[in-house]
Subunit: 220 residues, 2 copies
Protein backbone atom coordinates (compact mmCIF):
# COMPACT_ATOMS: atom_id res chain seq x y z
CA UNK A 1 0.00 0.00 0.00
CA UNK A 2 1.19 3.47 -0.87
CA UNK A 3 2.37 5.31 2.25
CA UNK A 4 2.13 9.00 3.09
CA UNK A 5 5.56 10.43 3.98
CA UNK A 6 6.79 13.75 5.32
CA UNK A 7 10.50 14.54 4.93
CA UNK A 8 12.90 17.29 5.99
CA UNK A 9 10.33 19.19 7.97
CA UNK A 10 12.02 21.89 10.05
CA UNK A 11 10.56 22.55 13.50
CA UNK A 12 11.94 24.85 16.19
CA UNK A 13 12.44 23.97 19.86
CA UNK A 14 9.18 25.75 20.60
CA UNK A 15 7.29 23.83 17.93
CA UNK A 16 7.04 26.34 15.10
CA UNK A 17 7.48 25.24 11.49
CA UNK A 18 7.17 28.66 9.89
CA UNK A 19 6.83 32.29 10.90
CA UNK A 20 4.13 34.88 10.40
CA UNK A 21 3.41 37.16 7.44
CA UNK A 22 4.40 34.93 4.52
CA UNK A 23 4.90 36.86 1.28
CA UNK A 24 6.11 36.16 -2.24
CA UNK A 25 9.52 37.41 -1.04
CA UNK A 26 9.67 35.22 2.06
CA UNK A 27 8.19 31.73 1.99
CA UNK A 28 8.76 31.44 5.76
CA UNK A 29 7.70 34.99 6.59
CA UNK A 30 9.21 36.33 9.81
CA UNK A 31 11.10 33.05 10.24
CA UNK A 32 12.92 33.40 6.92
CA UNK A 33 16.27 34.57 8.28
CA UNK A 34 16.25 31.95 11.05
CA UNK A 35 15.18 29.06 8.81
CA UNK A 36 17.19 29.46 5.62
CA UNK A 37 20.63 28.85 7.19
CA UNK A 38 19.28 25.65 8.74
CA UNK A 39 18.00 24.42 5.38
CA UNK A 40 21.55 24.91 4.15
CA UNK A 41 23.06 23.10 7.15
CA UNK A 42 20.62 20.22 6.70
CA UNK A 43 21.67 19.96 3.03
CA UNK A 44 18.06 19.98 1.93
CA UNK A 45 18.82 22.09 -1.11
CA UNK A 46 21.81 19.95 -2.16
CA UNK A 47 20.48 16.46 -2.91
CA UNK A 48 23.26 13.88 -3.12
CA UNK A 49 21.77 12.25 -6.21
CA UNK A 50 21.84 15.29 -8.49
CA UNK A 51 22.67 13.72 -11.86
CA UNK A 52 25.89 14.77 -13.53
CA UNK A 53 27.35 16.60 -10.55
CA UNK A 54 30.63 15.45 -9.04
CA UNK A 55 29.31 14.68 -5.59
CA UNK A 56 31.66 13.40 -2.91
CA UNK A 57 30.48 10.64 -0.60
CA UNK A 58 27.36 12.10 0.98
CA UNK A 59 27.32 13.08 4.64
CA UNK A 60 24.79 11.60 7.02
CA UNK A 61 22.74 14.78 6.66
CA UNK A 62 22.84 14.60 2.87
CA UNK A 63 21.79 10.96 2.88
CA UNK A 64 18.89 11.69 5.20
CA UNK A 65 17.85 14.73 3.17
CA UNK A 66 18.03 12.78 -0.09
CA UNK A 67 15.60 10.13 1.19
CA UNK A 68 13.01 12.79 0.32
CA UNK A 69 13.27 11.79 -3.33
CA UNK A 70 13.01 8.00 -3.24
CA UNK A 71 9.94 6.07 -4.28
CA UNK A 72 7.57 9.02 -4.59
CA UNK A 73 4.70 8.96 -7.09
CA UNK A 74 2.70 12.03 -6.10
CA UNK A 75 2.82 15.09 -3.85
CA UNK A 76 0.35 16.90 -1.64
CA UNK A 77 0.89 20.41 -0.37
CA UNK A 78 -1.09 23.23 1.15
CA UNK A 79 -1.89 26.26 -0.89
CA UNK A 80 0.64 28.39 0.99
CA UNK A 81 3.43 26.05 0.01
CA UNK A 82 2.50 26.84 -3.59
CA UNK A 83 1.97 30.55 -3.08
CA UNK A 84 1.05 33.03 -0.34
CA UNK A 85 -2.52 34.19 -0.89
CA UNK A 86 -6.03 33.48 0.32
CA UNK A 87 -9.29 33.75 -1.58
CA UNK A 88 -9.44 33.76 -5.39
CA UNK A 89 -6.13 33.19 -7.18
CA UNK A 90 -4.30 36.40 -8.10
CA UNK A 91 -3.83 36.69 -11.88
CA UNK A 92 -0.14 37.49 -11.75
CA UNK A 93 1.40 34.53 -13.59
CA UNK A 94 2.81 32.92 -10.39
CA UNK A 95 4.08 29.41 -11.19
CA UNK A 96 5.28 28.32 -7.75
CA UNK A 97 8.42 29.10 -5.73
CA UNK A 98 10.62 26.81 -7.75
CA UNK A 99 11.15 28.41 -11.14
CA UNK A 100 10.72 26.41 -14.34
CA UNK A 101 12.11 23.12 -12.92
CA UNK A 102 10.24 22.30 -9.70
CA UNK A 103 12.00 19.48 -7.83
CA UNK A 104 8.90 17.29 -7.53
CA UNK A 105 8.49 15.70 -10.96
CA UNK A 106 5.12 14.30 -9.99
CA UNK A 107 1.43 15.02 -10.09
CA UNK A 108 1.30 17.52 -7.23
CA UNK A 109 -2.00 18.11 -5.44
CA UNK A 110 -2.33 21.64 -4.06
CA UNK A 111 -5.11 21.82 -1.48
CA UNK A 112 -7.30 24.86 -1.95
CA UNK A 113 -10.91 25.92 -1.64
CA UNK A 114 -10.46 27.58 -5.04
CA UNK A 115 -10.16 24.83 -7.63
CA UNK A 116 -8.75 25.73 -11.03
CA UNK A 117 -7.22 24.11 -14.12
CA UNK A 118 -3.98 22.14 -13.67
CA UNK A 119 -0.68 23.81 -14.47
CA UNK A 120 2.37 21.96 -15.77
CA UNK A 121 5.78 23.41 -14.94
CA UNK A 122 8.79 21.34 -16.02
CA UNK A 123 8.09 17.73 -15.06
CA UNK A 124 5.59 18.69 -12.38
CA UNK A 125 1.85 19.11 -12.88
CA UNK A 126 0.06 21.06 -10.17
CA UNK A 127 -3.54 20.04 -9.56
CA UNK A 128 -5.57 22.51 -7.52
CA UNK A 129 -8.05 20.45 -5.56
CA UNK A 130 -10.46 20.84 -2.66
CA UNK A 131 -11.59 18.14 -0.27
CA UNK A 132 -10.76 16.64 3.10
CA UNK A 133 -7.25 15.33 3.77
CA UNK A 134 -8.54 11.76 3.31
CA UNK A 135 -10.16 12.62 -0.03
CA UNK A 136 -7.09 14.39 -1.37
CA UNK A 137 -4.86 11.56 -0.18
CA UNK A 138 -7.05 9.07 -2.05
CA UNK A 139 -6.65 11.04 -5.27
CA UNK A 140 -2.89 11.32 -4.77
CA UNK A 141 -2.52 7.61 -4.00
CA UNK A 142 -4.43 6.76 -7.15
CA UNK A 143 -2.01 8.94 -9.12
CA UNK A 144 1.02 7.45 -7.31
CA UNK A 145 0.17 3.84 -8.10
CA UNK A 146 2.43 1.62 -6.00
CA UNK A 147 4.71 4.47 -5.08
CA UNK A 148 4.40 6.62 -1.97
CA UNK A 149 2.82 10.04 -1.59
CA UNK A 150 4.90 12.87 -0.19
CA UNK A 151 3.28 15.49 2.01
CA UNK A 152 4.90 18.93 1.98
CA UNK A 153 3.85 21.90 4.10
CA UNK A 154 2.87 24.13 5.55
CA UNK A 155 2.53 23.18 9.19
CA UNK A 156 -1.26 23.53 9.19
CA UNK A 157 -1.58 20.94 6.45
CA UNK A 158 0.80 18.49 8.13
CA UNK A 159 -1.06 19.06 11.40
CA UNK A 160 -4.38 18.25 9.69
CA UNK A 161 -3.08 15.03 8.17
CA UNK A 162 -1.54 13.99 11.51
CA UNK A 163 -4.81 14.74 13.30
CA UNK A 164 -6.64 12.57 10.74
CA UNK A 165 -4.09 9.79 11.38
CA UNK A 166 -3.10 9.64 7.71
CA UNK A 167 0.69 10.05 7.98
CA UNK A 168 2.80 6.88 7.86
CA UNK A 169 6.24 8.44 8.15
CA UNK A 170 7.25 11.81 9.59
CA UNK A 171 10.81 13.11 9.50
CA UNK A 172 11.40 16.23 11.60
CA UNK A 173 14.57 18.29 11.61
CA UNK A 174 14.51 20.05 14.96
CA UNK A 175 16.57 23.21 14.99
CA UNK A 176 17.93 24.92 18.13
CA UNK A 177 15.82 28.02 17.69
CA UNK A 178 13.20 29.55 19.96
CA UNK A 179 11.11 31.33 17.35
CA UNK A 180 8.45 32.81 19.62
CA UNK A 181 5.75 33.29 16.99
CA UNK A 182 4.54 31.66 13.82
CA UNK A 183 2.59 28.53 12.92
CA UNK A 184 2.93 25.55 15.24
CA UNK A 185 3.10 21.94 14.15
CA UNK A 186 2.06 20.06 17.30
CA UNK A 187 -1.13 21.80 18.49
CA UNK A 188 -4.10 19.53 19.16
CA UNK A 189 -2.11 16.32 18.65
CA UNK A 190 -2.16 15.00 22.23
CA UNK A 191 -0.76 11.45 22.45
CA UNK A 192 0.42 11.46 18.84
CA UNK A 193 3.63 9.70 19.94
CA UNK A 194 1.66 6.61 20.93
CA UNK A 195 0.90 5.87 17.28
CA UNK A 196 4.56 5.93 16.18
CA UNK A 197 7.91 4.37 16.84
CA UNK A 198 10.25 7.35 17.31
CA UNK A 199 13.97 7.44 16.63
CA UNK A 200 16.26 10.41 16.98
CA UNK A 201 19.77 11.35 15.98
CA UNK A 202 21.77 14.40 16.95
CA UNK A 203 23.92 15.94 14.26
CA UNK A 204 27.17 17.85 14.73
CA UNK A 205 25.60 20.75 12.80
CA UNK A 206 23.22 21.34 15.74
CA UNK A 207 20.11 19.79 14.23
CA UNK A 208 18.28 16.80 15.64
CA UNK A 209 16.59 14.35 13.29
CA UNK A 210 13.39 12.78 14.61
CA UNK A 211 11.87 9.89 12.68
CA UNK A 212 8.28 8.88 13.38
CA UNK A 213 7.31 5.55 11.83
CA UNK A 214 3.71 4.40 12.08
CA UNK A 215 3.18 1.39 14.28
CA UNK A 216 0.36 -0.99 13.39
CA UNK A 217 -2.83 0.02 15.15
CA UNK A 218 -4.15 -2.35 17.80
CA UNK A 219 -6.76 -4.85 16.72
CA UNK A 220 -10.24 -3.57 17.49
CA UNK B 1 30.52 34.53 40.34
CA UNK B 2 27.81 32.15 41.45
CA UNK B 3 25.86 30.87 38.46
CA UNK B 4 22.18 29.98 38.17
CA UNK B 5 21.73 26.43 36.85
CA UNK B 6 18.75 24.35 35.76
CA UNK B 7 19.22 20.58 35.54
CA UNK B 8 17.18 17.58 34.43
CA UNK B 9 14.23 19.62 33.24
CA UNK B 10 11.85 17.43 31.26
CA UNK B 11 10.14 19.04 28.25
CA UNK B 12 7.90 17.34 25.70
CA UNK B 13 8.21 17.67 21.92
CA UNK B 14 5.42 20.22 22.05
CA UNK B 15 7.15 22.24 24.73
CA UNK B 16 5.23 21.30 27.86
CA UNK B 17 7.07 20.76 31.14
CA UNK B 18 4.09 19.70 33.20
CA UNK B 19 0.39 18.94 32.77
CA UNK B 20 -2.75 20.56 34.11
CA UNK B 21 -4.56 20.08 37.41
CA UNK B 22 -1.64 19.49 39.76
CA UNK B 23 -2.70 17.96 43.08
CA UNK B 24 -1.02 16.58 46.20
CA UNK B 25 -1.38 13.16 44.58
CA UNK B 26 0.15 14.15 41.23
CA UNK B 27 2.98 16.69 41.11
CA UNK B 28 2.72 16.74 37.29
CA UNK B 29 -1.09 16.68 37.16
CA UNK B 30 -2.46 15.25 33.93
CA UNK B 31 1.11 14.63 32.72
CA UNK B 32 1.95 12.36 35.67
CA UNK B 33 1.62 9.03 33.89
CA UNK B 34 3.54 10.28 30.84
CA UNK B 35 6.33 11.93 32.83
CA UNK B 36 7.16 9.49 35.61
CA UNK B 37 8.49 6.69 33.35
CA UNK B 38 10.79 9.23 31.66
CA UNK B 39 12.17 10.37 35.01
CA UNK B 40 13.02 6.72 35.61
CA UNK B 41 14.60 6.31 32.18
CA UNK B 42 16.64 9.48 32.68
CA UNK B 43 17.90 8.07 36.01
CA UNK B 44 16.99 11.30 37.77
CA UNK B 45 15.80 9.48 40.86
CA UNK B 46 18.91 7.30 41.06
CA UNK B 47 21.91 9.59 41.60
CA UNK B 48 25.17 7.81 40.92
CA UNK B 49 26.88 9.35 43.93
CA UNK B 50 24.51 8.07 46.60
CA UNK B 51 26.93 7.37 49.49
CA UNK B 52 27.27 3.79 50.68
CA UNK B 53 25.42 2.19 47.80
CA UNK B 54 27.17 -0.29 45.54
CA UNK B 55 26.83 1.67 42.31
CA UNK B 56 28.21 0.21 39.09
CA UNK B 57 29.99 2.50 36.67
CA UNK B 58 27.36 5.13 35.90
CA UNK B 59 25.74 5.31 32.49
CA UNK B 60 25.88 8.48 30.44
CA UNK B 61 22.38 9.30 31.60
CA UNK B 62 23.27 8.75 35.25
CA UNK B 63 26.34 10.92 34.93
CA UNK B 64 24.36 13.71 33.33
CA UNK B 65 21.59 13.41 35.90
CA UNK B 66 24.07 13.44 38.78
CA UNK B 67 25.56 16.77 37.65
CA UNK B 68 22.44 18.18 39.30
CA UNK B 69 24.12 17.77 42.68
CA UNK B 70 27.57 19.26 42.18
CA UNK B 71 28.63 22.65 43.49
CA UNK B 72 25.23 23.86 44.62
CA UNK B 73 24.89 26.22 47.58
CA UNK B 74 21.22 27.21 47.40
CA UNK B 75 17.98 26.39 45.59
CA UNK B 76 15.13 28.40 44.14
CA UNK B 77 11.77 26.90 43.27
CA UNK B 78 8.27 28.02 42.52
CA UNK B 79 5.55 27.51 45.05
CA UNK B 80 3.99 24.70 43.03
CA UNK B 81 7.20 22.73 43.18
CA UNK B 82 6.84 22.85 46.94
CA UNK B 83 3.12 22.21 47.06
CA UNK B 84 0.03 22.60 44.87
CA UNK B 85 -2.04 25.47 46.20
CA UNK B 86 -2.67 29.14 45.57
CA UNK B 87 -3.56 31.84 48.07
CA UNK B 88 -2.94 31.48 51.83
CA UNK B 89 -1.05 28.33 52.86
CA UNK B 90 -3.33 25.44 53.85
CA UNK B 91 -2.77 24.41 57.50
CA UNK B 92 -2.43 20.71 56.78
CA UNK B 93 1.12 19.99 57.89
CA UNK B 94 2.51 19.65 54.32
CA UNK B 95 6.33 19.51 54.39
CA UNK B 96 7.08 19.21 50.65
CA UNK B 97 6.92 16.28 48.23
CA UNK B 98 10.13 14.71 49.47
CA UNK B 99 9.42 13.22 52.90
CA UNK B 100 11.74 13.87 55.83
CA UNK B 101 14.96 13.85 53.76
CA UNK B 102 14.59 16.30 50.86
CA UNK B 103 17.40 15.84 48.34
CA UNK B 104 18.43 19.50 48.34
CA UNK B 105 20.43 19.93 51.53
CA UNK B 106 20.55 23.68 51.02
CA UNK B 107 18.78 26.87 51.91
CA UNK B 108 15.87 26.56 49.49
CA UNK B 109 13.99 29.69 48.44
CA UNK B 110 10.33 29.01 47.62
CA UNK B 111 8.83 31.90 45.64
CA UNK B 112 5.41 32.88 46.93
CA UNK B 113 3.26 35.94 47.44
CA UNK B 114 2.47 34.52 50.88
CA UNK B 115 5.62 34.77 52.98
CA UNK B 116 5.83 32.70 56.15
CA UNK B 117 8.38 31.39 58.66
CA UNK B 118 11.11 29.08 57.35
CA UNK B 119 10.72 25.34 57.74
CA UNK B 120 13.62 22.93 58.18
CA UNK B 121 13.15 19.38 56.93
CA UNK B 122 16.19 17.10 57.14
CA UNK B 123 19.18 19.08 55.88
CA UNK B 124 17.03 21.47 53.85
CA UNK B 125 15.58 24.74 55.09
CA UNK B 126 12.72 26.16 53.03
CA UNK B 127 12.47 29.95 53.00
CA UNK B 128 9.16 31.28 51.69
CA UNK B 129 9.97 34.55 49.98
CA UNK B 130 8.34 37.07 47.66
CA UNK B 131 10.10 39.31 45.18
CA UNK B 132 11.13 39.50 41.55
CA UNK B 133 13.31 36.75 40.09
CA UNK B 134 16.33 39.07 40.30
CA UNK B 135 15.64 39.85 43.97
CA UNK B 136 15.16 36.23 44.94
CA UNK B 137 18.28 35.24 43.00
CA UNK B 138 20.29 37.84 44.89
CA UNK B 139 19.15 36.37 48.22
CA UNK B 140 19.94 32.86 47.05
CA UNK B 141 23.37 33.83 45.75
CA UNK B 142 24.19 35.46 49.06
CA UNK B 143 23.23 32.22 50.80
CA UNK B 144 25.21 30.13 48.30
CA UNK B 145 28.47 31.99 48.74
CA UNK B 146 30.85 30.91 46.01
CA UNK B 147 28.71 27.96 45.04
CA UNK B 148 26.03 27.97 42.34
CA UNK B 149 22.29 28.37 42.73
CA UNK B 150 20.00 25.67 41.35
CA UNK B 151 16.65 26.62 39.86
CA UNK B 152 13.94 23.96 40.02
CA UNK B 153 10.46 24.24 38.56
CA UNK B 154 7.83 24.60 37.62
CA UNK B 155 7.93 25.74 34.03
CA UNK B 156 6.44 29.16 34.77
CA UNK B 157 9.27 29.96 37.17
CA UNK B 158 11.97 28.77 34.76
CA UNK B 159 10.28 30.76 32.00
CA UNK B 160 10.33 33.90 34.18
CA UNK B 161 14.02 33.54 34.99
CA UNK B 162 14.83 32.90 31.32
CA UNK B 163 12.82 35.95 30.27
CA UNK B 164 14.76 38.03 32.81
CA UNK B 165 18.02 36.64 31.36
CA UNK B 166 19.15 35.28 34.73
CA UNK B 167 19.86 31.64 33.81
CA UNK B 168 23.48 30.70 33.11
CA UNK B 169 23.00 27.00 32.39
CA UNK B 170 19.89 25.15 31.25
CA UNK B 171 19.78 21.38 30.85
CA UNK B 172 16.65 20.09 29.12
CA UNK B 173 15.70 16.44 28.77
CA UNK B 174 13.41 16.37 25.77
CA UNK B 175 11.07 13.39 25.79
CA UNK B 176 9.31 11.98 22.69
CA UNK B 177 5.85 12.86 23.93
CA UNK B 178 3.19 15.11 22.42
CA UNK B 179 1.38 16.13 25.59
CA UNK B 180 -1.23 18.42 24.06
CA UNK B 181 -2.00 20.45 27.19
CA UNK B 182 -0.26 21.69 30.28
CA UNK B 183 2.24 24.43 31.09
CA UNK B 184 4.71 25.41 28.38
CA UNK B 185 8.34 26.30 28.93
CA UNK B 186 9.17 28.33 25.82
CA UNK B 187 6.37 30.86 25.49
CA UNK B 188 7.46 34.47 25.08
CA UNK B 189 11.16 33.61 24.77
CA UNK B 190 11.72 34.56 21.12
CA UNK B 191 15.42 34.49 20.18
CA UNK B 192 16.43 32.87 23.49
CA UNK B 193 18.83 30.60 21.57
CA UNK B 194 20.94 33.61 20.58
CA UNK B 195 22.07 34.05 24.17
CA UNK B 196 23.35 30.49 24.54
CA UNK B 197 25.71 27.95 23.08
CA UNK B 198 23.55 24.85 22.59
CA UNK B 199 24.72 21.25 22.55
CA UNK B 200 22.56 18.19 22.18
CA UNK B 201 22.94 14.46 22.64
CA UNK B 202 20.51 11.71 21.71
CA UNK B 203 20.23 8.81 24.13
CA UNK B 204 19.36 5.20 23.32
CA UNK B 205 16.53 5.46 25.86
CA UNK B 206 14.70 7.88 23.54
CA UNK B 207 15.48 11.11 25.38
CA UNK B 208 17.46 14.00 23.96
CA UNK B 209 19.68 16.08 26.23
CA UNK B 210 19.92 19.76 25.34
CA UNK B 211 22.52 21.87 27.11
CA UNK B 212 22.24 25.67 26.98
CA UNK B 213 25.36 27.46 28.22
CA UNK B 214 25.28 31.23 28.50
CA UNK B 215 27.54 33.00 26.06
CA UNK B 216 29.10 36.29 27.13
CA UNK B 217 26.90 39.18 26.09
CA UNK B 218 28.25 41.51 23.44
CA UNK B 219 30.02 44.60 24.60
CA UNK B 220 27.72 47.62 24.53
Amino acid sequence: MSRLRVHNFLVTLDGYATGEDQSTEAAFGTAQSEFLPWFEKANIFRPADQPGSAVPAPSVNESIAAAWGSGIGADIMGRNMYRPATGPWPQDGWRGWWGEEPPFGTPCFVMTHWEREPLTVGNTTFHFVSGTPAEVLQRAQKAAGWLDVRLGGGPSIVNEFLAADLVDYLHIIQIPVVLGRGVRLWDGLESLHKRYAIESATMPNGTIHLFFTKTPSEAA
